[in-house]
Symmetry: C2
Subunit: 364 residues, 2 copies
């Protein structure tokens, strides 16, 4: 029996749900009491996470569902595509899963995004639960209902807004996370500072070594505060018609790096870390922040173990990749920029200025 | 300039939209005035419909969108699959379409279902308009927001509830419909009688030859009344948690015929026509209607040019196929049956009774 977890609530009317944050949650059946009853459950995970936590979750669910199936997907961003998504549909249909079957996404952002989109689409929608096992998924991707797969021409281009019924953030799973993945998660935590909460940014600056060292109390605070901010933003703008776009700070440049390098070469969080530095430079050129702020953000990203120098894809390639970003309109790239520390807005920028930022941030 | 069309409204709060029904609507730009403004539109159609109406719709939209692209999909239910759906995403991305791009589904149910699902999923949702050119699509599939593609193991298994912004039912397009397709549409019109409105059933009985003969006034009445009934049902239960399931009368048997014969061998409407006769027999055995009612429905289906004898797939194969129907729960098949003429309910039935129905309805 685990200690009582903390709870952050996502307020979306009839689509509201809790995020439970704590240690040793996976093995405690009481935490899934609120999940809708059904004959079957399908745990979707990957070949890396399954041996670590697959059986524990299966045992936890065995008392609640007559049949609990487990599907292992190949691991990695390169597999966030249709053929892999279709493995989930194949499993659901071959196990005779019906409209009430509950899907459990056990893993990182790729597993969560694909399982969520499968849940949104199978029989036009079945319930699902996020069980994020990476820091990035716990502080960002498992919360808020964005689901998607990649298209060869663009990241997360095919998907749905579809909310889970529950998010179970088991902090104990972070113990097995590779260091590179931990740093990738820190990128999305750092993000919440410049766009929303500079006091949290100060706290991260003071605690980044504790976070990198996996201090449990530091990680617990970082996950909870990140989820609170994300819940506040998503609760105001579920479908990203306005405010929610600020959560994409660093993502326009970051997606271009991911796609341009080939999915999986850079982790999503690494690309976002570097992308935030680039977006900070752009914000400075547009007058929102000063050089000292850019330097401060860049230093923190670097201390978190993340890259701060962008790959030299060439300015034309960057511009081409960024033009097919989801925030673009009528071919015009729209960036999330900091208009003052702790506040972000979405706006376009002259290509000439973007080229200057690229020249400044890319390695030769 | 066409005569002013009739309008049936689908009432779904902020997702409400009009169905416009009339002649020569395609060529009149005033009917798309209410469609959200955007830089680009993509007309999705197929190789059969494109030469007939593609250019007319493109001209109509040219004044409202800076760029109007047209994509021709291969024709037929066999292509209602992922590779064909992906052609839509390829076109959207290669044309630089953004979150505001409007999709127009110009064609029958297959084009409408696939375009709707593409619109639901592209960048997590863009606006779309249904422009149904078959009778079946005008009276059923284009209305109500069900979108989907088939999976090899089951029909319409992957999809979304996603409402269009407008349905443009141009009755003039029915002039070019092959007779087999016209009959297929009549199946879904006949359906509304036993489940909801026996007065309409009486009217169809009295007018079925006029409908088969494409009498414009008869078709206009049948389309309007069908849309009214569908709007009333969908308005009460958008996501099919209850009442809406009655619209699947004949579809459990019908989907089994379609999948069992191989998609495309039987038209969807043909399978539904025959499936309604089978479901009527089942309803009789369960005590909802008498033999005279079954005979009356069967005669009308036959007069509409539809098959009333089911293919001999074997009882086991039927049961296997019907168990993966979306209405099944925990492996139990659930049928829409008539509990009294003009009223339908969903219920399970003992396999033994279903076997009797199959023995009675299948050709040797």
């Amino acid at each position: 029996m685990s200690a009582s977890p903390e709870c952050v609530e996502i307020q979306l009317g009839e689509r509201s749900y809790p995020i439970l944050i704590g240690s040793d949650l996976l093995g405690d059946p009481t935490h899934v009491d609120a999940v809708p009853a059904a004959a079957t459950a399908l745990i979707v995970t990957n070949t890396t996470v399954a041996p670590l936590y697959g059986e524990a979750l299966r045992r936890t669910l065995a008392g609640r569902f007559r049949a609990v199936h487990l599907l292992e997907l190949p691991d990695g961003e390169t597999h966030k595509d249709w053929p892999t998504l279709n493995l989930i549909f194949d499993a659901l249909l071959s196990h005779g899963c019906d409209r009430k079957t509950v899907l459990f996404a056990l893993g990182g952002g790729v597993v969560g995004d694909m399982t969520g989109f499968a849940a949104a689409s199978y029989m036009r929608g079945v319930p699902f639960v996020q069980v994020p096992t990476t820091l990035l998924a716990q502080v960002d991707s498992s919360v808020g209902g964005k689901t998607a797969i990649n298209h060869p021409l663009g990241k997360n281009m095919i998907g749905a807004f579809y909310q889970p019924r529950l998010v179970l953030c088991d902090l104990s799973t972070l113990a097995t996370l590779p260091p590179r993945e931990l740093s990738a998660g820190l990128a999305e935590i750092i993000k919440y500072g410049p766009i929303y909460d500079m006091a949290f940014f100060d706290w991260i600056e003071a605690n980044v070594e504790a976070l990198v060292g996996r201090d449990p109390a530091a990680l617990a605070h970082a996950v909870r505060r990140s989820c609170e901010i994300k819940a506040a933003v998503v609760g105001q703008d579920e479908r990203e018609t306005g405010l929610r776009a600020i959560l994409n700070f660093g993502h326009t440049f970051g997606h271009a790096i991911e796609a341009g390098m080939g999915y999986g070469r850079w982790l999503h969080g690494e690309a976002v870390g570097c992308g935030m530095v680039m977006a900070a430079h752009l914000s400075q050129r547009l007058g929102g922040v000063d050089a000292a702020f850019v330097q401060r953000l860049s230093a923190l990203v670097e201390r978190a173990g993340l890259p701060v120098t962008a790959p030299a894809l060439g300015a034309e390639r960057y511009l081409e990749l960024m033009r097919i970003d989801k925030k673009s309109e009528a071919g015009e790239i729209r960036f999330v920029v900091i208009d003052k520390p702790g506040s972000a807005v979405m706006r376009s920028a002259p290509d000439a200025i973007v080229r200057e930022v690229l020249a400044q941030c890319c390695v030769d």
